[in-house]
């Protein structure tokens, strides 16, 4: 019951911080709220005994990606609120659409949702188990992802590099 309570509270906090991400006017605040959200989600991971993923999530997302976001924000000097006033009717319809999305997803899934399918505390999320799986069954995808990375790298360089001809 305690775990259940914790997870419910954690879930509520996750939703709340996620909402703050899209509600806060200032982008830097959004980034910070997002980092907090990631932390909460990692908390869920730990609750489910998926330690490796929890760590990766914090390191890669909160540590690397979000820092990158902050860097870019600072670099482009975008830390002031320059977002135009939100157009209310448009955001209203957008919220309606998003709400409808949630609604239909839940409506569709409602037959399956009985809150009886409880989660087993398993060991599969431990580093050792995952490592074995990754380097045996999923070694090819692992290697293949190198193509992804190299193209992302090349792409980033290609796009972000300043050309000699036109210097702004």
């Amino acid at each position: 019951m305690i775990l259940e309570l914790i997870s419910i509270i954690l879930g509520g906090m996750t939703i709340g911080s996620a909402l703050m991400v899209i509600l806060s006017k200032h982008p830097i605040r959004s980034v910070l709220y997002l980092v907090i959200t990631f932390f909460f989600i990692s908390g869920h991971f730990i609750l489910m005994n998926a330690q490796f993923i929890a760590i990766v999530n914090i390191i890669v997302y909160a540590g690397a990606i979000m820092v990158l976001f902050l860097f870019v924000l600072m670099l482009l000097n975008l830390n002031k609120v320059d977002e135009k006033k939100t157009n209310h009717p448009i955001s209203f319809t957008a919220v309606i659409a998003g709400g409808a999305l949630l609604l239909v997803i839940l409506a569709a899934l409602k037959d399956g949702i009985t809150f009886t399918n409880t989660i087993v505390k398993s060991d599969v999320g431990l580093v050792e188990n995952l490592g074995t799986l990754l380097f045996s069954k999923y070694v090819v995808p692992f290697e293949i992802s190198s193509i992804l990375f190299i193209s992302a790298m090349v792409g980033a360089v290609l796009l972000a590099k300043r050309e000699k001809q036109h210097i702004d």
């Binding site: 957008a94 659409a97 239909v104």
Partner: protein
Amino acid sequence: MGTETLILFVLLFPLIGGLINGTIGKNLSETVVGTIGTLMVAIPFVISFSIFLSLESAVNIPLFSLLKLSDFSLNAGLQVDALAIWMTMIITGIGSLIHIFSMGYMKGDPGFYKFFSYLNLFIFSMLILVLGSSYFMLFFGWEGVGICSYLLIGFHYNDKEKGLLNTLAARKAFVMNRIGDLGLLIGCFLLINQFGSLEFSVIAEKMKSLSIATDSVAIIGITLCLFIAATGKSAQIPLFTWLPDAMAGPTPVSALIHAATMVTAGIYLVVRSNFLFELAPYTQNIILYIGLATSLVAAFIAMRQNDIKKVLAYSTVSQLGLMFVALGLGSYTVAIFHVTTHAFFKALLFLGSGSIIHANHHEQDLTKMGGLKKYMPVTHLVFLLGTLAISGFPLLSGFFSKDEILAAGFVHSPLIFSLLILSASLTAIYMFRMYFLVFFGQFRGDHHTKEHLHESPGVMTLPLIVLAIFSVLGGALNIPDFIVSNGAHWLDHFLNHGTFGLDKIHSHHLETSSAVGIMIGTSVITFLIIGISYWMYVSKQKVTKDEHDFTGWEKLSSKKLYFDEIYNALFVKSVEWKASKVLPFIENSILIKGIGLLTHMISFSGSQIRKIQTGILSSYFFWMILGIVGLISYYLIYFKLWNF
């Protein structure tokens, strides 16, 4: 050589003549062209005369099969019997005379060779018409003469003033004939449907074996169709208005085609189909009344025509009407007899008028003539004979042929008889009006023309004289039996014995007393009319009024009872209105615009759809999310899960 071969020569000579003149005639002198043209008709006349002399029974000459269809075939074949050879002789005989005349009349015309070529081709087509062994061949020639007639009516197409008018007349003739042809065509189809063949002989045979009821629908349909065809060619109501207009052609053409030969094709058709018409008294009655009406109407119109050729043209229509009356009364041989005599005197009259016109510098108006007697004695004499013959002057050819029609009418009913008498009297009236106006009194034309008035050359007068002789003596062909005992009704016998169907029809024989009575009566009327006319036009020197000055019935007559105007309003105008207003409207506004509207709608919807593509990212997300919502909703609907 047998008849089979000879008859081919009869056919081929005019064709060859036409082709020679048409192709190389341009480089030949007029004399050569004329001679070739004439010989190519004269020789067939001689040949056909010899065939006529030796003809014993009908000869059927299959030539070749044009097209074999599943249940019957279109055959080219000839058939020589009494009727055919008689018509051939009329055509070639009168044809050659007119050819001779044309050599003089057309002298100096740039289209001289063409003219002779067309004439020869016309003779050829006409011969096919009468010699053909089937309705198909008849139709072949039927159409052929139509074209030649078209070409000849519009012969002077490039005339500065009247060129287009001439061709309009030609077109009118062709189109009206085509309407008739339509009847013939449909008649042919009905015949095929009924008898499975178009051969005269086969149909005649089947008529016997099939034992078709009198006045059955099929027969009435067929005969009516054939009669429509006949009204087209033979200028009967309602299709008669083309014939007077056709006088736009050169005068020999009028003589040959529109008086002596082509217009009798309708008579020939009905006589040829006598076995069919005999079974359709209903149609015969229609023929009778139409013929009578035509005869009277045309005679009435002829009363106050001022154009010499128009008078003759309406006279022709009127005479053709009389022939149809004879046909309607079942007196086929009488009709042919009248065809024959009419050919003589009408050709004579037309050629005579040609001679007059030639002398008058192509002036045809009666009001501009007068007193020509002294300038053109030969023409005057033959013209007088012709006029007398057509008016039924006793013992001339017209007297006998018309008398037989009257006799037939007398047998039928007194009303018909009296109307026939009226028609015959009208003939005499307008003919003598014309005769006196032309030859008596003072010359009313201009001075210039007067100086040049002259008798026509020998080539022109010679045929006139020959025709005059025939017009006078033609009656001898069919003299009533109470006048001569031996050889009476020779033509009747000849035709009856050599033509399908006719042998079974017995002509009505009047008692001698009534016959003599009719003869005397008509003679008296004719004399009276001549006398009155002489008194009016010669003694009182009455001169006809100008066309515009007519009033009352005279105006009605001069305006041709407004037939042209009525037709124009009823048919021509409505078709032209459709052609120039209604159908282009359908075409442009409904069909084309309709399609245009469709394409416009398509591109309009394109430009509307285009507006969704706003270029703003968040709207694209919005649509995509709505898309997913839609997809899931589809799932919910699909499994009917819409119950929360």
